[in-house]
């Protein structure tokens, strides 16, 4: 099960540079053949990624220095205007509030996900698998439909309000939908499994004797957790946070469907620049800003993870 339900990135992120395993001896002297074989394996995939990933990204990022065409597309006249516009408080605010919402969603996912992952790891083997599948299963249904379910639950005439009114707890429907809180709930709901899986994998791998030793030495469970379990799972915590943060940060569906347009996120802004305003260069500049912020976070994550795995 672990191979199908675990996002593959886990292993990669936890061990950023898995060395090519073994067998380094006795390969020298077959240089040319080895090169050809390497080309055969790597060639098709890399060519594909260069044409359909690297070139598109290069195109998008090169658009950041050009002017917008009147009806979309670009006019190839250099300008720094797009970057000046990026510094406009209006767009900085959106970037910051996206950062804030994505960070809150990540924190909530961690707070919810850690105890869950811990519990799953402590379950008997048979239940473990079932509990894991159960976490992943909603993730395998349509993303939009899952978001839509929250509208049914939370809207004014929605089920939560109806139930509360029927129970006599409230008189007027509560405003549960269309605010920043709902956006956070939607993001957590969408990406929680991505938090639980790496945490589970890390907690599962922990040597139980460490905890037992700590307990035998008289440490209380909380103490054991804080000084043994938690530090050892920091890399997984970082991985999980990254998995939740990245898709949350660039999301435009959740703010649109659950936020009711009350707070746009950077994803909405980019989408609107490409589809509504047809200002591709500025949309590209926003995308560049998004990617740049993610790269900084990725580097920080890799750096911290390496420090912890060394310690």
């Amino acid at each position: 099960m672990s191979t199908t339900s675990t996002p593959p990135d886990r292993d990669r992120a936890a061990e950023p540079s898995a060395p090519p395993s073994g067998g380094r001896r006795g390969r020298r002297g077959r240089g040319a053949g080895r090169f050809l074989a390497g080309l055969l394996f790597l060639g098709p995939g890399l060519t594909y990624l260069i044409v359909l990933l690297m070139i598109p990204l290069a195109l998008v990022f090169s658009y950041t220095v050009f002017q917008r065409g009147r009806f979309g597309g670009v006019v190839y006249e250099a300008t720094g205007e797009n970057f000046t516009r990026l510094l406009d408080p209006l767009y900085l605010d959106v970037l910051l509030s996206s950062l804030k919402l994505a960070a809150i969603a990540t924190a909530v996912a961690l707070l919810v996900g850690y105890p869950t992952a811990y519990m799953i790891a402590m379950l008997p083997r048979r239940w473990k698998t079932i509990a894991l599948v159960a976490v992943v299963l909603p993730f395998w249904t349509n993303f939009l439909v899952r978001i839509y379910a929250w509208i049914v639950l939370l809207s004014g005439p929605g089920l939560v309000n109806t139930a509360l009114i029927d129970l006599g707890l409230i008189d007027e429907p509560l405003e549960l939908l269309y605010n920043e809180g709902t956006i956070v709930v939607g993001l957590v709901y969408s990406y929680l499994p991505l938090m639980v899986l790496p945490l589970y994998a890390a907690i599962e791998k922990l040597d139980p004797t460490l905890r037992e030793a700590s307990a035998n030495l008289g440490a209380r469970p909380a103490r054991t957790f804080l000084s043994v379990t938690l530090p050892l799972t920091v890399p997984a915590v970082l991985t999980g946070c990254l998995f939740v943060f990245v898709p949350s940060f660039g999301n435009f569906i959740v703010p649109e469907l659950l936020g009711g347009g009350h707070s746009a996120m950077v994803g909405n802004l980019i989408r609107d620049q490409f589809l509504t305003a047809r200002d591709w260069p500025f949309g590209a500049t926003l995308a560049l800003a998004l990617v740049a912020m993610l790269v900084v976070l990725l580097l920080a994550q890799a750096w911290t993870a390496r420090r912890y795995s060394r310690a």
Binding site: L90, P157, G260, A264, T276, R278
Partner: protein, 372 residues
């Protein structure tokens, strides 16, 4: 502008069946393409074999008769596919992306047709291939985004106003200010539209400014008004405000006339005293189309009163087609209902036109409003 599926199921079925019978009865009537003069300016062949052409149209869901492809096949032998778009922006994104979208005829609002024309993406209308243009109201040939129907043909038209629950409001809204600064019973039960030009409309009109203003100060004032209005807003909504009214989730919404479910008890539509817009949804033929003769034949066919009256009867949108409107059962349009508005009344509204580079100002307004 986006449209919702038709609201009345049973009448729709009956009317469609009736229209189908009517078409069958006069099937093979006049040959619409034979009458076209051989204009040298036109690259189109009036005698093209339409059976060899294939049509793809893009339209809002529920905005054309469901059996239109069958009828087109029957009449011209042309295979027709219908693609759906939810909003003008969505289809504009596809049409302006550079690549051939595969669309022959697109249904877009007037100012978007204008933008498409300025971008050189639409084929000029060849009037000689559309004799049914004569069915249009004279007013419908002089619309400001396209005087003389040079590149677009109007499909439906109407205005924007306040759609509200009579039973849940203490007094009838008469001004855009009632929507922007709602009474206590409507607090957090108001929606405004998402699409930026219509989003700005209530505030601009409340200040008696033009909906096409490019004056920074006026746009700023409108923005300030909207920022205040946002405190009392449920959400921005282009597509489901009618449903929200029916459920009581909203009590007062900015609405396009045809989409205000006035057939429901207690739901009324009002054009505020400051005035409003005149919007037109149009049909355009794409330059990239390889089936332009069939595209023109289709537009001509839609302007046939039998077909065009479908929109009025089933989705309750006014059509700019005199012959078609005269066919509509008067019972469907009681006095005071949106469908009963005359072209003269409609023309009091101001057409939204494309503002070119200044349209960025409205994008910014919309972003500022939604970012805070």
């Amino acid at each position: 502008m986006s449209r919702i599926r038709y609201t009345r199921r049973l009448p729709a079925v009956v009317a469609t069946a009736g229209a189908l019978l009517a078409v069958a009865a006069c099937g093979g009537g006049e040959d619409t393409t034979a009458a076209a003069p051989s204009a040298s300016a036109a690259q189109l062949d009036p005698n093209a074999d339409l059976k060899k052409q294939k049509l793809t149209i893009s339209i809002w869901d529920g905005y054309s008769p469901k059996d239109l492809p069958d009828r087109v096949m029957e009449k011209f032998g042309t295979k027709m596919d219908v693609a759906l778009h939810a909003t003008n922006e969505e289809i504009m994104g596809k049409l302006t992306a550079g690549a051939d979208s595969g669309i022959d005829v697109a249904f877009v609002s007037g100012q978007y047709a204008q933008a498409l024309n300025e971008a050189g993406l639409v084929e000029p209308i060849h009037p000689e291939l559309i004799p049914n243009l004569a069915n249009l109201y004279p007013e419908a040939t002089q619309l400001s985004y396209d005087k003389g129907n040079k590149f677009s043909v109007p499909y439906t038209w109407g205005t924007t106003g306040i759609c509200y629950r009579e039973d849940l409001l203490k007094s009838e809204p008469t001004s855009w200010n009632d929507l922007l600064d709602p009474p206590a019973e409507a607090r957090k039960k108001v929606t405004l539209m998402t699409t930026e030009r219509w989003l700005a409309l209530p505030a601009l009109k409340a200040k008696n400014y033009s909906v096409n203003t490019t004056d920074d100060k006026q746009i700023q004032e409108a923005k300030d008004l909207l920022v205040k209005a946002k405190e009392n807003l449920l959400t921005f909504d282009d597509t489901t405000f009618g449903d929200r009214l029916k459920k009581g989730e909203a009590v007062m919404v900015e609405a396009w006339d045809g989409w205000c479910p006035t057939s429901e008890k207690n739901i009324k539509f009002k054009v505020p005293k400051e005035g409003s817009d005149l919007w037109v949804d149009t049909m355009v033929v794409l330059k990239s189309s390889k089936n332009k003769e069939a595209a023109h034949a289709l537009i001509n066919y839609i302007l046939d009163p039998e077909i065009h009256s479908w929109a009025a009867e089933n989705i309750l949108y006014k059509v700019p087609n005199k012959a078609a409107m005269e066919k509509v059962d008067p019972g469907l349009r009681p006095d005071g209902s949106p469908l009963a508005m005359s072209p003269a009344e409609l023309l009091q509204g101001e057409s939204i036109i494309d503002l070119g580079n200044d349209s960025q100002k409205y994008t910014r307004l919309s972003t500022e409003l939604k970012a805070n």
